[in-house]
Amino acid sequence: MRLLFGSFFTFLLAAMIGLGATWFTLTRGVAFGSLTIGAWTAWPKSGTQDIDPYAHASIARDGELPIGIGDGVAFYAHADDTGQEFDGRCTFALSGMTPPARYWTVTLYNLEGGLVANAIDRHGFTSGEILRNVDGRFTITVAPQARPGNWLPTGGIEHFVLVWRLYDTPIGVAATTMKEGPMPAIERKGCS
């Protein structure tokens, strides 16, 4: 009787710990081999056959098609430079430089990876269409209401993700020497 109780307890505990840990790691997006520059994080290995089991599980579960390393690399940001999580009711300024790449795009998604409805039907910018200063630098204003210049609307949703994709780039291929990669700074400007 004691053995029965004990083993029942053990199996219950194992199921709780095991499934709980799996759920936790997959919803939190645990993955190894990340490359962080400022507020931006990329997982270059996720675009190769060497993808780690956690990243593989979460990609399969979410139905994503990760960007292949021969194509480019994707940097994700969930928070500004101070680590405060994005809020679509606030205004953020993205400014500075980007690492070398033939093209880049920046896109705003909701947490599920969907585009966010807005009045001007804009979901991001490409390096080919962005308005730049004379020195080649640029500022993108991520805000719920219309702004002059490069305005990326948040649609006023609570949480959002920014994805910066570099196409045809050496970044991520030589992943260990990552000091040269300047990524745009993300500064919170205030909330409406």
Binding site: G18, A57, G68, G70, Y103, G113, G114, L115
Partner: protein, 183 residues
């Protein structure tokens, strides 16, 4: 007391095993992976345009809206696949995914170095059967080994500004993916 501590320790260890097993099994068990999502709209061994992501719908999450995309859901069981994709004005890439969403190979227009990206996709067994001389004469035709019999080929063409999207779509519309039956 000791007995209960042992039961708890056993539960924790077994829990670790359950965790690793479920993580490793997830790619096989996932019912909403990219392949399953695309299966209803992508016939086998045919290149079809992927619907552009909008705020209302998106077949695949986290797709880049600046790109036109086309997909070929391949099945190598009846023979190898020939892929021919003319490159667009700005930037074109081809990415190969296994049945379980692993991006095992990707190439862009510059790396392909031609007006069109031409590739042969085979299983390792089919590749081994390619006559050696043919392999040499066709050196400019890239042969890719697919780790799985089925999978996805995704073509992406960049529209650097929204007005160029029709051109990017047009470039992809000319892309072909067809099965070469085994002789």
């Amino acid at each position: 007391m000791i007995r209960w501590l042992l039961w708890i320790l056993g539960g924790i260890l077994l829990g670790g095993v359950v965790h690793l097993a479920t993580v490793l099994a997830m790619p096989q068990a996932a019912t909403q992976d990219a392949y399953s999502r695309l299966a209803p709209i992508a016939p086998v061994n045919t290149m079809v345009a992927m619907p552009a992501p909008t705020a209302k719908t998106s077949v695949i999450p986290f797709m880049d809206p600046a790109f036109a995309a086309a997909v070929c859901r391949y099945d190598l069981s009846t023979g190898s696949i020939k892929l021919n994709a003319p490159v667009s004005e700005a930037y074109t890439s081809v990415t190969f995914y296994t049945r379980n969403s692993i991006a095992y190979y990707a190439i862009n227009d510059r790396a392909a170095g031609k007006r069109a990206i031409e590739l042969d996709l085979m299983t390792p067994e089919q590749h081994a059967q390619v006559p050696e001389e043919e392999d040499v004469t066709a050196a400019d035709r890239l042969i890719i080994d697919s780790p799985t019999t089925t999978g996805l080929i995704v073509l992406r063409a960049l529209a650097p500004e929204p007005g160029l999207m029709p051109m990017a779509r047009q470039a992809l519309a000319a892309a072909q993916c067809h099965s070469e039956p085994v002789q």
